[in-house]
């Protein structure tokens, strides 16, 4: 039976793991290579590495840090941040990424999803959507690490991403990110139930019950969390044991 995935996320800025609230007010949470190595040992199902200011700083991702992080990961590593072209994707794959997450560039140019899925396969193209609730049942996409509104409807865009060959959607609620109130279940459910491809719930985890809610109530295939793991509040093992007890299929 296919298991639900627990994905610790390393939000990286200037080569350090950081954690913010609603995408700003960043605080230091350690060295990405060290953190990745701990998560790899600790039973993470995948690891996600996001260079969160690469797009807003208009620079390329930290390939060297990606390389070192990949060295110690023997689980799938998704890397994102500042990915703009086919060549960027190829460089990341060569640096040791297994999947590449595209955010700003995919939203500006959905054709890039198509081109990259054709070239590298859907399985390695993750489209990251940062969404903010703007109305009842409506979420708008923001880009550049949540700094710029787009007037794009998150659900409509997620469908387009799927059609263009995205292998999965990394769905972050900007309203919930860093609040520790739990995922935006409505948003997760809305998108997950409308797509055939897997959705990763992200943004807002404060305790283990939130992980369960993301999977059971939100219908996500995977749950992503950052701070509850970085600061040692819970280990990945503890999270999985809890989920297993709650009848969620996990890999232990």
């Amino acid at each position: 039976m296919l298991k639900k995935r627990i994905i610790p996320c390393l939000d990286v800025k200037d080569g350090r793991v950081v954690k913010g609230i609603n995408f700003v007010d960043l605080i230091d949470a350690g060295d990405p290579v060290e953190q990745a190595s701990i998560y790899n040992q600790n039973g993470a199902d995948e690891i996600c590495f996001l260079d969160i200011t690469a797009s807003s700083d208009k620079r390329d991702i930290l390939l060297d840090t990606v390389k070192k992080t990949a060295e110690c990961c023997f689980v799938p590593l998704t890397v994102g941040g500042g990915v703009r072209s086919i060549q960027d994707i190829r460089n990341l794959l060569l640096a040791g990424a297994d999947k590449v997450s595209i955010n700003t560039a995919a939203i500006k140019n959905p054709e890039l999803i198509k081109e990259s899925a054709n070239k590298f396969g859907s399985q390695c193209i993750v489209v990251a959507i940062d969404a903010k609730k703007t109305n009842v049942n409506t979420w708008e996409i923001f880009t550049h690490g949540g700094r710029e509104p787009t007037q794009l409807n998150a659900l409509e865009f997620a469908k387009l991403a799927q059609e263009n060959g995205a292998g999965e959607i990394l769905l972050t609620s900007m309203d919930k990110d860093g609040t520790k109130e739990g995922y935006d279940i409505e948003l997760t459910k809305k998108i997950s139930s409308s797509l055939n491809i897997p959705v990763i719930a992200s943004g807002g985890v404060g305790n283990l019950e939130h992980l369960k809610d993301g999977i059971i109530k939100g219908g996500s295939s995977a749950v992503l969390a950052a701070s509850i793991f970085h600061f040692g509040e819970y280990s990945i093992q503890e999270a999985k044991e809890y989920l297993k007890k709650e009848n969620v299929a996990v890999r232990l």
């Binding site: 296919l2 040791g96 897997p198």
Partner: protein, 211 residues
């Protein structure tokens, strides 16, 4: 021992090479692991790993765009009988034909067709992505020491319908039964990614090095 990983511009090559290096250190064999992108070099190697990500057709075309590689690979595998390990689409390419993307011939070393996974349970997602168990169905050199029901990492939407069941060494359930490992003499393949499957995956690569 010299092991070649074929680079035809798809796939997570770096992950494959570093996992092979780790496996090689674990079995204390001094292996020389090289990523190659030309056919000529192939003769100097003892084993080959064929990774693969993307569509069957695109992978076959990209592989074929390396001048002379199909002949050299066929000589290496079918005549010299040296071991090859195909991973994911790399394994699928051993098939006679792949349906994806309008269809394409494969290498034809193991009879069968690669088809889109036809889910019985429509609430399931495609790609089949994540950790799933394997049921080991035959005495396999590659899966030696791996427990039945062990977890491996999968990511694919197409699967290999193998004509002759005796070549199937493991299957996996995803509302239908998927071929997750194959073995025919010196030809080995896994639908899952051993390079991304932690200790179980490294064990498989160790087995491949020891064969």
């Amino acid at each position: 021992m010299k092991i070649a990983i074929i680079d035809y511009e798809t796939g997570n090559l770096k992950s494959v090479s570093k996992a092979l290096e780790l496996a090689s250190n674990n079995v204390l064999k001094r292996s020389n692991i090289e990523v190659i992108n030309s056919a000529k070099a192939l003769n100097n190697f003892d084993k080959v790993v064929l990774p693969g990500q993307g569509s069957f057709k695109q992978c076959f075309q990209s592989l074929n765009s390396i001048h002379g590689i199909l002949d050299e690979l066929t000589d290496f595998v079918m005549f010299k009988k040296k071991p090859i390990l195909g991973i994911c689409v790399g394994m699928q390419l051993f098939a006679t034909f792949g349906d994806e993307d309008g269809g394409s011939d494969g290498l034809g070393w193991i009879g069968g067709e690669v088809k889109k996974i036809n889910l019985k349970d429509l609430s399931l997602k495609l790609p089949h992505m994540g950790w799933n168990n394997i049921q080991i169905s035959s005495n396999s050199k590659l899966l030696n020491g791996i427990n039945n029901d062990s977890h491996f990492y999968f990511v694919h939407s197409y699967s290999f319908d193998v004509d002759e069941k005796k070549y199937i060494s493991a299957t996996t359930n995803y509302s239908i039964e998927i071929v997750s490992a194959i073995e025919k003499e010196n030809i080995f393949g896994t639908q899952f990614h051993p390079e991304k499957s932690q200790a179980n995956g490294i064990k498989i690569l160790e087995n491949f090095i020891k064969i």
